[in-house]
């Protein structure tokens, strides 16, 4: 009974079963208030002791790493234009595919995630980061089986990007279509 969280849960559980005790009513409120109070104090402590994020340093790293990934992408794109004969407009898609292949390869070798800890958004924002979330989720859950493990978890982290990308693209396209055609 000295653990407030448990008591609160316990009494509310009794309530749902229809055996609520009147005596515990006032006590319940008091512990709840105390628990909320303790949580607020704890949050203050956490905020006080949490180290400040080195914003400038993180931003510089993200800029350098993200810039380098895009620079590599530019070289790959150049290769597709000059060597494979793609038009500049069509070269974007195979470039993205090559970048994704490289990202998945480095994820499988365990390199990308170590690198990502250092690079922050620099490795998460490029399309390589998207592929990394898919490959690492699939790898992490492979022991749970082919279907519910790999299949069910591959989009666990990448899913939101696709969902909100498609939904926002749908409305943007709809508005643009209506503006042009009406």
């Amino acid at each position: 009974m000295e653990w407030p969280g448990c008591t609160v849960y316990h009494t509310s559980n009794l309530d749902t079963l229809g055996v609520a005790s009147r005596e515990e009513g006032w006590w319940d409120m008091a512990t709840k208030a105390k628990a909320v109070d303790a949580r607020a104090t704890y949050q203050q402590l956490v905020d006080k002791h949490r180290p400040a994020r080195p914003l400038l340093m993180n931003t510089v790293r993200a800029f350098l790493v993200g810039g380098c990934i895009c620079l590599i992408g530019q070289f790959v794109q150049m290769f597709f234009i000059k060597v494979a004969g793609f038009s500049p407009k069509d070269a974007g898609n195979p470039t993205v595919a090559v970048m994704i292949f490289a990202s998945v390869l480095f994820t499988a070798l365990g390199v990308y995630d170590k690198f990502a800890q250092w690079a922050g958004a620099g490795s998460a924002v490029p399309v390589t980061g998207f592929a990394n979330t898919m490959a690492s989720a699939a790898l992490e859950h492979r022991t749970e089986g082919w279907v519910s493990g790999i299949g069910g978890n591959m989009f666990k982290l990448a899913g939101p990007v696709i969902v909100y990308g498609v939904v926002s693209a749908f409305f943007v396209s709809l508005v643009r279509y209506l503006v042009i055609h009406l």
Partner: protein
């Protein structure tokens, strides 16, 4: 598209800049990287809706096509191209037209990686 060394410079600067914006959002809002990439994808879709993303691609090349913002841009592009041909229904049928390369590649390679490799780190 101007194919000289300045494209490489702008690819680096613009691509790095988009990642720097992501990092600043990440640090200031204390949200997860997942939230930030979602924001950037929506931003890419909206920018393309306003007709601003294509000029950026012409200017910065891979600096604009490699960050995840280009995913939103490609979704809108596919939807609008198909809508021009087949009318309103084209928005639904065409939305994945251009992004197929990215999504298919990611699914196939991620599957192969999970089938062959073991988790590390």
């Amino acid at each position: 598209m101007a194919w000289n060394w300045t494209t490489f410079l702008w690819a680096f600067v613009v691509g790095g800049g988009i990642c720097a914006v992501g990092q600043i959002l990440l640090d200031i809002t204390k949200l997860t990287p997942g939230h930030i990439t979602v924001m950037l994808v929506i931003a890419g879709a909206v920018l393309d809706g306003l007709g601003l993303y294509d000029p950026l691609i012409r200017f910065a090349g891979a600096g604009a096509t490699v960050p995840i913002t280009s995913f939103g841009n490609s979704l809108v592009h596919g939807a609008l191209a198909e809508a021009d041909q087949h009318g309103l229904i084209g928005i639904i049928t065409g939305i994945f037209e251009v992004t197929s390369a990215g999504i298919s590649a990611a699914i196939v390679f991620a599957f192969l990686a999970a089938a062959i490799a073991r988790p590390r780190g």
